[in-house]
Symmetry: C2
Subunit: 327 residues, 2 copies
């Protein structure tokens, strides 16, 4: 593969080169991995200049129409918008989110936008890893807004939050009783909570917004950092466009406040460091699981631990010692 040409194509903002580069970083073949590392290292100086926006919400909340409506407005303002996805079910289903580009018909046809479905296969960690790398490639290709979306279930939200600057949670207007059911952990990730589909029931949307505002305020009371962002609740309609400008203004306000306080850069550095250590731990686990002596001993030792014949700590120490056995 002509890596130099590929890097130049990405830097020139060619969508085909970008798509090809992402396919390369998604590949699990060892020789591709080497090339992907070389490409990433080459392009890294040209990354980091986008605003990375995380987005989640339960199925049916209207993520695609929200991205389509917001994305078209951003293009009109002169931005270049990339949309990536993390699908926690992709390991099983082969990727459902964004798989159907017709869900964002106008955006997907525009030259200034780039839409990429969730990588499929592998663990959630692997999927998230590929999306992080794809995000860097999109930045190198000149996209100055990168949206990473996920469905509001499971750990994929944490993964999205760990690679974005601003996290936006979409809610339904009639979620009143469901508010209790929102996992507090997800609320704590959100910088902005937006009641979508306000057109369906304006009164319900207003109530939901008020309820969310007070929940966010209560949760914010535990922050001890006076420079911390106070999460906000907003409302909009992707259909009518109502409120979308306000949502975008809130994102920009958040960004400005975070840059002033130094939190923006600090968060990115933290994310990079944590990412490195996650990948190291994943690599260590893989090496462990592939070691022949470990593979030979693990089943019996595991069942000994479960049956209470060997203490878990003893079993762990024995297995670790096996790593020093010549393969």
């Amino acid at each position: 593969m002509n890596l130099v040409g590929l890097a130049q194509g990405v830097l020139a903002g060619e969508r085909r080169s970008l798509a090809k580069a992402i396919t390369l970083v998604e590949s699990s073949r060892p020789e591709h991995r080497e090339q992907a590392d070389a490409l990433l290292t080459e392009l890294l100086p040209h990354t980091g200049r986008s605003l990375r926006l995380g987005l989640s919400g339960v199925p049916g909340v209207g993520k695609s129409s929200f991205i389509e409506a917001l994305g078209m407005r951003l293009l009109a303002r002169g931005h270049k918008v990339a949309v990536l996805a993390i699908d926690p079910s992709s390991a099983v289903s082969g990727g459902a989110i964004l798989g159907d580009k017709t869900r964002m018909e106008r955006l997907s046809m525009d030259e200034r936008a780039f839409i990429r479905p969730s990588p499929s296969g592998g663990t959630l960690g692997g999927v998230a890893d590929h999306t992080r790398e794809a995000l860097l490639l999109c930045e190198a290709a000149g996209f100055d807004i990168v949206i990473v979306e996920t469905v509001g279930v499971g750990q994929s939200e944490t993964a999205v939050a760990s690679m974005t600057d601003c996290y936006l949670l979409l809610q339904l207007p009639n979620a009143g009783d469901d508010l209790q059911a929102i996992k507090r952990g997800v609320m704590e990730l959100a910088h902005l909570v937006v009641v979508n589909k306000a057109d369906i029931d304006a009164a319900a949307a207003t109530r939901a917004q008020a309820q969310l505002t007070s929940s966010l305020r209560l949760m914010g009371m535990s922050h001890h950092d006076s420079e911390a962002w106070q999460p906000q609740a907003l409302r909009c309609s992707s259909l009518s466009g109502e409120g979308l400008d306000e949502v975008w203004q809130a994102v920009r306000d958040f960004e400005a406040q975070q840059r002033r306080s130094g939190h923006f850069e600090a968060r990115r550095r933290q994310q990079a460091e944590r990412w490195m250590w996650e990948r190291i731990e994943q690599g260590l686990r893989q090496r462990f699981a592939r070691h022949p002596a470990v593979q030979a001993a693990l089943p019996l030792l595991s069942s000994d631990v479960l049956a209470g014949r060997v203490a878990a700590s003893t079993a762990a120490r024995r297995l670790i010692q096996l790593l020093d056995t010549p393969a």
Copy 2:
């Protein structure tokens, strides 16, 4: 060291042998570790027959007086009670919790009780690990109730929950407004929430109990398992003894329900399995950090990642590859 004699001493329920055995498993010297593993494996068939009770609460909630009052009642009913502690600050301070046995004067002087302060030094993971092993030794010594306490701050609560059958959270009666501040995560660990010091303000204790009951009910709504335990809120006074019998009855009800449903055994198996994998990951990290080639390369690669010169995933792969470098 005479391991056979030590094992016999523990099995005979000698408190001096038990104390010595715990000191052995707490030692970080490699030859002690070998002996500790041998001792644990020898004693393991005699473990598992206690009820393991986790206990936490903020400083000042009255953990010591609660344990003293409950513990004396349990001795009167013919039980043998061991009390262990996990002090998240012990890595720094050298162990504060239970360090002062005079806080449980009557219990500590009784032959049928055994009180051991938190192991000091090392990480929280190391402290928790030693406590898990000490718990097994207490069981081998015939203690049929083992209480593991911790202060209600940080991750030590998760550690206690991960080694006990029943988790009891102590609360103050005037905690009304603070209820919002209780980390939801800790509430979710609790099977029983007990308002202690009800003697100080009976009305406040009643209000706190009612509030906790409704909070627990709301949280319980997200459980989909019809056989799941519905957490309960109770009240007591360690000073007057009021409510202590009811608390103990609730612990026993919980145990009976969990045994009937099979959750009791399932939880223990899960705990053993998770413990093994935690220890494996910890061992892998230690091996990684001690590798000379890794030690040589890590500082520069880390700073490259933080400065955005090398992608985190690339740095991680390079470091993992270094493990195959001959030391």
